[in-house]
């Protein structure tokens, strides 16, 4: 059988995944004019990754605001450790992210993203809203066009962008990175990269669960991200942490409909709606415009944190109880904006439109339905599709400089684990840092390392077979099979016997021969292979974590129903040893 064409690519720094982290890494690495930098994306960097269709907030320690309040970065770290991470926390990553994201915000502003508003009364005319910490730390901004703008910056610096290449394998030489393999999902060509340093920034592991809308790609975060980085990393022998926390997180969203949590209280849209029940009783009161006029004037004290924790617990607790209340027949519940002023509605609509599917939601709501946020209450209840909880933040274990155990292989953004809800802040800052260190290393390394062709040839064979198979499963059959398996054997309630049965069933999925009729379908088959790898890690790690941990982790082992902080308030790392056996280790969290 003739093999697929192989396209060799030589570069000093290779960046895998062109989302926010990958673009920032490329921009920073390309500051060295002597280096060749290549950015690869399975989609198109103009619209790829979590921020593909826009993003409207990012958190940071903001010196001009926070210093005046006497709120230190240490205070902020403690807020994050206690309340956002529930103890699953890496202090070094927090300092990198919180401490440098304000500088990245100023970079984004220089490149044309608007962060300042005439009507703002906050210092710097920013819109800074409360989200994750006891004082407001999240910028609201016009991030709808962020990805096209970042792509332009990447191009301006002479970076070679290769779109529509899905990366599948890392190649190493004696514990150092030497290259990588990918497949073009438009042409079917195999791309064989030789590089001195590599940044892995391929994002989240989605599509591990069925979607109740019947649109399997209608995931919360963009569906193309199928955990390819995690899959590549585990096959390269690297440790992955927190991946057992695939759960039904009670998002304040009804995923069965097209009504996410836009504008619910204590979220990033501020001011927000109130939550009411069918009789109009208020379950959670609404929030109003933050007191920006006095932002930065109030002094921060431990009392501010205490009040914030109490308020947050109360509103979160009530929001979480909604699932229980629904099960008891107390629904439906609604988001109600009827009390909002015109100015507040303007702000809310602006904020919704800037991020994720918000723009489409508003278009649907207003244009297709002729509905009005103030007049038409949005139904509000239920669960997100299952995903790895942001609170857990699964991914690679890296050094403080974001290097993996493979020398010169770095990770950034959602590929990195250990700092819950780092989201765009993690992507901006870690991308930048990984790009900087990777460039330094690439410059230091004189020549290229030997590049073994073994993995590339094996990948070529697998792809050639899938494209030439006369009889085989359509990729979606296998994907749905794996999703159903995960929902059934690794669902809200897990146990040893069910998880083990799930692993047996997964062996069938691994062995299922898939058939691709064209390069697009070949890409989807490769997605499914990544999904299977991720599913296996979730099953195995779930079996290893012998305790339960409530929402937001939503991890429940029927055979170990108690939370066990003494033994399990640790990062659980899984890795595949060279002999193919999986091993586990516990890594202490920072206190």
């Amino acid at each position: 059988m003739p093999r697929l064409k192989v396209v060799p690519v030589e570069t000093d720094v290779l960046i895998i995944g062109g989302g926010l982290a990958g673009c920032m890494a490329a921009i920073k690495a390309a500051e060295s004019p002597d280096l060749r930098v290549t950015l690869v994306d399975k989609s198109n960097t103009k619209r790829s990754g979590c921020a593909a269709s826009g993003i409207d907030h990012t958190w940071a320690y903001i010196p001009p605001v926070h210093e005046k309040m006497g709120y230190t970065i240490e205070n902020m770290a403690e807020d994050h450790r206690q309340v956002i991470s529930y103890g699953f926390f890496r202090k070094d990553l927090f300092h990198l992210v919180a401490g440098s994201n304000y500088e990245r915000v100023l970079d984004l502003e220089r490149w044309g993203i608007n962060f300042r508003y005439e009507d703002s009364k906050a210092p710097g005319k920013f819109r800074i809203v409360p989200q994750f910490h006891s004082v407001p730390t999240s910028f609201n901004f016009d991030g709808g066009p962020l990805k096209p703008i970042l792509t332009k910056e990447v191009e301006n610096r002479g970076v070679a962008i290769i779109n529509r290449v899905q990366m599948t394998d890392l190649v190493t030489a004696d514990g150092r990175i030497s290259g990588a393999v990918g497949v073009n999902v438009r042409t079917g060509d195999i791309h064989f990269f030789r590089a001195k340093a590599v940044v892995l920034s391929s994002g989240r592991s989605n599509r591990l669960s069925r979607n109740p809308t019947g649109f399997d790609f209608n995931t919360r975060m963009p569906s193309p991200m199928s955990g390819d980085g995690t899959s590549m990393a585990i096959r390269a022998g690297l440790p992955v942490i927190n991946i057992e926390f695939l759960s039904n997180i009670l998002g304040p969203a009804a995923c069965g409909n097209y009504n996410p949590n836009y504008g619910d209280p204590r979220n990033t849209v501020q001011p927000a709606a109130r939550i009411i029940d069918g009789q109009g009783n208020v379950i959670v009161p609404r929030t109003r415009f933050f007191d920006w006029e006095n932002l930065g004037k109030e002094k921060w004290t431990e009392e501010v944190r205490r009040r914030w924790i109490e308020e947050r617990k109360a509103s979160r607790g009530v929001k979480r109880d909604l699932a229980k209340r629904l099960a008891q027949g107390e629904g439906p519940f609604y988001l109600d904006f009827s009390e909002a002023t015109d100015q507040e509605i303007d702000y809310i609509e602006w904020s919704i439109r800037n991020e994720g599917k918000g723009n489409q939601f508003m278009r649907y709501f207003q244009e297709e339905e002729g509905a009005d946020l103030r007049k038409n209450k949005q139904e509000y209840a239920g669960l997100w599709p299952r995903e790895i909880s942001g609170t857990a933040a699964k991914g690679l274990w890296v050094s403080k400089d974001l290097e993996t155990e493979i020398t010169n292989l770095f990770a950034a953004g959602d590929e990195v684990a250990g700092l819950p809800w780092q989201a765009s802040s993690g992507a901006f800052t870690q991308g930048w840092h990984a790009g900087e260190v990777a460039a330094k290393r690439a410059r230091k390394q004189k020549g290229f390392l030997p590049l073994s062709e073994e993995i590339m040839k094996a990948r070529n064979e697998v792809c050639t077979e899938m494209l030439n198979r006369k009889v085989g499963f359509y990729w979606k059959e296998v994907e749905i099979g794996v999703q159903n398996l995960m929902d059934f054997y690794c669902g809200d309630v897990r146990s040893e016997a069910m998880l083990q049965r799930g692993m047996e069933r997964l062996e069938d999925a691994k062995a299922a021969p898939m058939k691709a009729e064209n390069p697009h379908e070949l890409g989807r088959c490769l997605d499914v292979k990544s999904i299977i790898d991720n599913a296996e890690l979730v099953l195995r790690s779930s079996l290893e974590r012998r305790e339960s941990r409530p929402i937001p982790f939503g991890f429940y082992r029927a055979d170990f129903p108690e939370q066990d902080d003494e033994n399990w308030l640790v990062f659980l790392a899984i890795r595949k040893e060279p002999d193919g056996v999986f091993s586990f280790s516990k890594i202490a969290v920072d206190r």
Binding site: S43, N44, R47, S48, R164, K357, N376
Partner: protein, 78 residues
Amino acid sequence: MAFNHISIDEELCNGCNECVEICMCDVFAPNPDKGKPPLVMYPEECWFGGCCMSHCAHSSTGALTITTPFQMRGGFKR
């Protein structure tokens, strides 16, 4: 009939293929007939982020439209 929530108006589309270029889910394919509207090859792989609409130079005239599928509608009180 299959899922058909994305529609392209033959009259209004200028065949620039920008949607083919940027769709992160690779839903579209260029029309083999050059200058003609792209083909909506894989509508069931749509994420509903609307990037195709925001990049379409003629979406304001209705060259490319998304009609929200029935099962995703109606999560609000009329």
